[in-house]
């Protein structure tokens, strides 16, 4: 069954149309990746799902429920976590506080503690820096924190917007490992990446988006070997 379904959505920034008739589905337990060049509309797609931007047309179903009109703070409560582009950690809060903010919607204290331990097991560095202000951390550290923060709400669907951006290769590797691991543990993942090569390698399925439209879709493996894609995004 599909966990997330976008039906013909269109999104505008003022008069500029950023998304044109986008339809895509993410099935429970899948890793789906969305690739495309700068300004294609990848981030906008994620923002439309999480409710950060309003839709011009179309509808979005999550878990069978219509979430088209829900604002961001409500979609997250339903189990959608969105790790935004550019990390966006809270600069004047400590690492610990950043993580706790991630658990804002979680009522169960024990669950929070459990998640915290899990986050530390993925990112031990965060545990070392619990009291450092988020804003003074290096780029990579911030990215880990951003993912960790999203995991705090123990989401059903984790949407990651360019998680590998600005990270050391070894960390990128780790992050992709972690994504796989999270997926193996049952989490559904929608991954936006510029790093198409690695993204397609771990994805079950992928969509290619160009100037606001989906131009290609298929299993990850297949896209990886698609000539058109190799030409545009992988070479």
């Amino acid at each position: 069954m599909s966990l997330l379904e976008l039906k013909n959505i269109e999104t505008y920034y003022g008069k500029i149309q950023a998304l044109k008739n986008i339809s895509l589905t993410v099935n429970r337990g899948e890793i789906v990746t969305l690739i495309g060049s700068n300004g294609a509309g990848k981030s906008t797609t994620l923002k439309s799902v999480s409710g950060q931007v309003k839709l011009g047309a179309g509808s979005i179903l999550f878990n069978g429920k219509d979430i088209t009109k829900l604002p961001a703070h409500d979609t997250t409560l339903l189990g959608i976590a969105h790790v935004p582009e550019g990390r966006r950690i809270f600069p004047r809060m400590t690492v610990k506080e950043n993580l706790m903010v991630g658990a804002f919607g979680v009522k169960n204290k024990k669950q929070v503690q459990e998640q915290l331990e899990r986050v530390f097991s993925y990112f031990p560095k965060l545990k070392e820096r619990l009291d450092q202000k988020g804003g003074t951390m290096s780029g990579g550290e911030q990215q880990m924190l951003a993912i960790g923060r999203a995991l705090m709400m123990k989401p059903d669907l984790l949407m990651l917007d360019e998680p590998s951006m600005g990270l050391a290769p070894i960390i990128v590797e780790q992050i992709f490992e972690i994504i796989k691991e999270l997926n193996n543990e049952g989490m559904t993942i929608l991954l936006v990446e510029q790093n198409a090569y690695q993204a397609l390698q771990i994805a079950h399925r992928g969509y290619v988006i160009q100037t606001g439209e989906i131009i290609l879709q298929g299993p990850g493996e297949e896209l990886l070997h698609n000539n058109q894609i190799r030409e545009a995004y992988l070479a």
Partner: protein
């Protein structure tokens, strides 16, 4: 053309040593890459060279003169320009004007001249406009010259930062993760641009980058930092196979490079 020498450079933030005793030389007209894990202190290193942070100890020498205690704008006058890891454009100003700001050091106009509108001032102003446009063409942004910088897409903003830095007519250009957020094809174009800048404009380049494909392809020399210390330096091949670097930075994926 210039040579940069860094001697025993150290920077601490409270208890944290972000750069520890770093010594390195940058040869004229070369491309040097500084790589290392996140938080290794690469950006801090750039910040000290450009005067944003004062070194805790050590010295930075540009063409035989120390620049370690200079203010950022004085460093800029000595011919060092940079881009920023988290883009810092003048958002509410047009693309062309962003580049023109970069020409600050080269416009020899004063308050009085400006007020009187002296011919000399007008001429320089006109020249500056053209020069700025040429630089936009150089990085492929000429179509956007009248747009506000904040309205550009991410990749375009990165290139605008490069154009603005070039406007200062630097002899040494520091690029902090210029390819971040670009897809492989865009990265390839960026690689070409950097090479052109080095060859056509005679600029020495030091860059920080996590895209190993770009780094390996382009650099004459690579310096690897980890935990603020220099753990290795050398040519691409040396680095690729350097066990410490693999362990700290490249990971097992290094084999594919």
């Amino acid at each position: 053309m210039s040579t940069l020498q860094v001697k025993n450079l150290t920077k601490t933030f409270g208890g944290l040593t972000a750069n520890s005793d770093i010594t390195m030389d940058v040869a004229p007209n070369s491309i040097t890459a500084v790589i290392g894990p996140n938080g290794a202190g690469k950006t801090t290193f750039f910040n000290m060279i450009t005067g944003v942070y004062q070194p805790t100890s050590g010295d930075i020498i540009l063409n035989d003169k120390s620049i370690a205690r200079l203010k950022p704008h004085e460093v800029s006058k000595r011919g060092i320009a940079r881009t920023f890891q988290n883009i810092r454009l003048f958002g509410d100003v047009t693309v062309l004007e962003n580049v023109m700001v970069g020409m600050h050091n080269h416009l020899k106009v004063g308050l009085v001249g400006t007020l009187l509108g002296l011919p000399n001032v007008r001429r320089q102003e006109k020249e500056a406009k053209k020069e700025a446009y040429r630089l936009l063409e150089y990085v492929g942004l000429e179509a956007f010259y009248n747009e506000l910088a904040s309205n550009l897409s991410y990749g375009a903003q990165r290139r605008l930062e490069i154009a603005r830095a070039l406007a200062t007519k630097p002899s040494l250009l520091l690029l902090d993760e210029p390819a971040a957020g670009m897809n492989p094809r865009e990265t390839r174009e960026l690689t070409a641009l950097i090479n052109r800048i080095r060859h056509e404009l005679d600029v020495t380049i030091v860059l920080i980058e996590h895209d190993m494909k770009l780094v390996m392809e382009i650099s004459d020399h690579i310096v690897v930092l980890d935990h603020g210390e220099k753990i290795a330096e050398g040519k691409a091949d040396d680095i690729r196979n350097h066990p410490k670097v693999i362990e700290a930075y490249l990971g097992k994926g290094a084999a594919t490079l």
